[in-house]
């Protein structure tokens, strides 16, 4: 009799059951194996680590003092960078609404359109903005247009995914009320669903815009316009004093856009 009690109530308290601790150990081992595999196969040249601090000091030394005379030159590309982010986000905003309705379970016309909507979401999100940039530069040639389209292509999936989730969670009440008036499907979507997801749509768009300012600062590396081209050129010419000016400018616009975005989102919610 005492043995049954003992098995039900073990004498010693343990945080985990044997099964839980086995799973815990399995995860630990998996992480350790992943760590060893990932580092060992990378073929690391440890010699580079030895003089890295000297290299870094040398680099900082060459950057100082910043050549502020470069600032007027990069003013226009800086504005272009913000334009690329803003226009790209605007295009994405317009495209994301219909795609979100396609990809939301409760508003998709049928299984096929839902699958198409989901495929667009996955495709858009799986490719990085810079890779979209490579593609659009190959199509439309170098310049800000490729940048705008790259930003739009990556952002569409991001916006539509979150808006589709908001549509799926929309309150049935207003939708049924509009349906009861004999409204068409489009009217139901525009009057019953869209106002409910507007705060999510605007908030996500503003949030994505500030990510996009950051992304468009590097689009120039692949020729898709903006400040990135000037940064890359200055680095390749070893004009480190100019590099510092460009970096300061990027720091400024990214922090400013983050502040604007946070302010707008704070007002919405």
């Amino acid at each position: 009799m005492s043995s049954t009690v003992a098995t039900r109530y073990p004498e010693v308290w343990r945080k985990r059951t044997p099964r839980e601790s086995a799973i815990q150990w399995a995860w630990m081992v998996a992480v350790a194996v992943a760590a060893v595999w990932s580092v060992s196969a990378l073929d690391i040249e440890w010699a580079f680590f030895l003089d890295a601090h000297e290299q870094a000091a040398d680099l900082i030394d060459r950057m100082w003092p910043p050549s502020w005379s470069y600032l007027p030159v990069i003013l226009e590309p800086l504005v272009e960078t913000i334009h690329i982010a803003t226009l790209g986000t605007a295009v994405a905003l317009v495209l994301s609404v219909p795609i979100a309705f396609l990809a939301a379970r409760n508003t998709a016309a049928n299984g096929f359109t839902w699958a198409v909507g989901r495929a667009i979401l996955v495709g858009s999100r799986s490719v990085n903005t810079i890779i979209w940039g490579l593609l659009f530069v190959a199509i439309f040639g170098p310049g800000p247009l490729a940048g705008i389209l790259a930003v739009a292509a990556r952002s569409v999936g991001f916006l539509a995914k979150l808006v589709a989730e908001a549509i799926e969670e929309a309150d049935r009440g207003p939708i049924e009320a509009i349906e009861a008036t004999g409204a068409s499907t489009l009217q139901v979507y525009l009057v019953g669903v869209l106002p409910q997801v507007m705060p999510v749509l605007i908030g996500t768009t503003v949030y994505r815009w500030d990510i996009n300012v950051r992304e468009s600062s590097v689009l120039g590396f692949v020729g898709a316009g903006g400040i990135g081209l000037y940064l890359y050129a200055s680095i390749n010419q070893f004009a480190w004093q100019q590099v510092l000016v460009v970096l300061s400018a990027i720091l400024l616009i990214v922090i400013a856009s983050e502040a604007v975005s946070a302010w707008i989102r704070g007002r919405i919610s």
Partner: protein, 266 residues
């Protein structure tokens, strides 16, 4: 004849508070659109030619060329290794940074310095950071690994600091009252409260690192990105298509894995 008769037509309530404000927002948006498109240096002729080129490009992308799969697999594996290794290094480094940047645990000067590092580190895109690591450590995956580790450290450190600032004080005070050292307070009072959320954030960051590991190669920091940009500049579009498909598959897989683990943890 009263002027304030009920309106016969329903109009949706304005989203931006009042109708004047709504009109103002529209006017600003249209004004901005006109200004920005006018100042942008867009070559219309070249852009229009692009539609024809797009068809040509896609025609040359199909079928994707997986013949050089060895090169492809090598680049993809390198990207994946960079992502995993950098996440692990980033997690380790993020712990001291997170503690330093938590207002309730560290002294004011340390807090300010750590927050400053986080703000500066978050500003620059991974690719910009990668350029500098390439300059310091030479071309190759080490630069990519360090870039992503740095970015992960900043991101995870920020998240950890915010979690630590939001913990309940009770357990911390209880442990402190037993005469525990700072390390013991952290391990027994703070860590249990933040561990599960931080694990979730780490898995999320792994997903983000997989995404970024595919592009840092464009500036020479290892991984598949270099192979991709090389194939684009050689007009080798059918191989580029194969790489793009592989990247999309890897990223989608990473996202699925991240969602799966985080769902299981709840």
């Amino acid at each position: 004849m009263s002027a304030v008769a009920a309106p016969t037509r329903w109009r949706p309530p304005p989203f931006f508070g009042t109708r004047t404000r709504q009109n103002l927002v529209w006017a600003l948006a249209i004004g901005y659109l006109v200004w920005s498109v006018a100042t942008l240096d867009i070559d219309t002729k070249r852009a229009l030619a692009g539609f024809g080129r797009a068809l040509d490009l896609f025609a040359r992308m199909i079928p994707p060329d997986f013949m050089r799969w060895e090169l492809l697999v090598k680049g993809m594996v390198e990207s994946l290794q960079m992502a995993i290794a950098s996440t692990l290094v980033g997690v380790v480094l993020s712990v001291p940074l997170g503690i330093a940047a938590a207002r309730n645990l560290s002294p004011k000067p340390v807090y300010v310095a750590a927050r400053g590092l986080i703000v500066a580190g978050r500003t620059f895109h991974e690719v910009i950071i990668a350029i500098f690591f390439v300059k310091l450590f030479g071309f190759g995956p080490v630069a990519g690994l360090l870039t992503l580790a740095f970015a992960s450290m900043i991101f995870l450190g920020k998240m950890l600091a915010e979690d630590i600032e939001n913990i309940r004080e009770g357990p911390v005070e209880a442990i402190r009252a037993t005469g525990a050292s700072f390390g013991q307070v952290f391990v027994y009072g703070v860590l249990p409260q933040v561990l599960s959320r931080q694990t979730g954030t780490t898995i999320y960051r792994l997903d983000a690192n997989v995404r970024h590991s595919t592009v840092v190669g464009i500036v020479g920091a290892g991984g598949i990105g270099h192979t991709l940009s090389a194939s684009f500049s050689r007009y080798d579009y059918d191989f580029a298509a194969a790489i793009l498909l592989s990247i999309a598959a890897l990223v989608a897989l990473g996202e699925w894995f991240s969602d799966w683990v985080r769902r299981r943890m709840r």
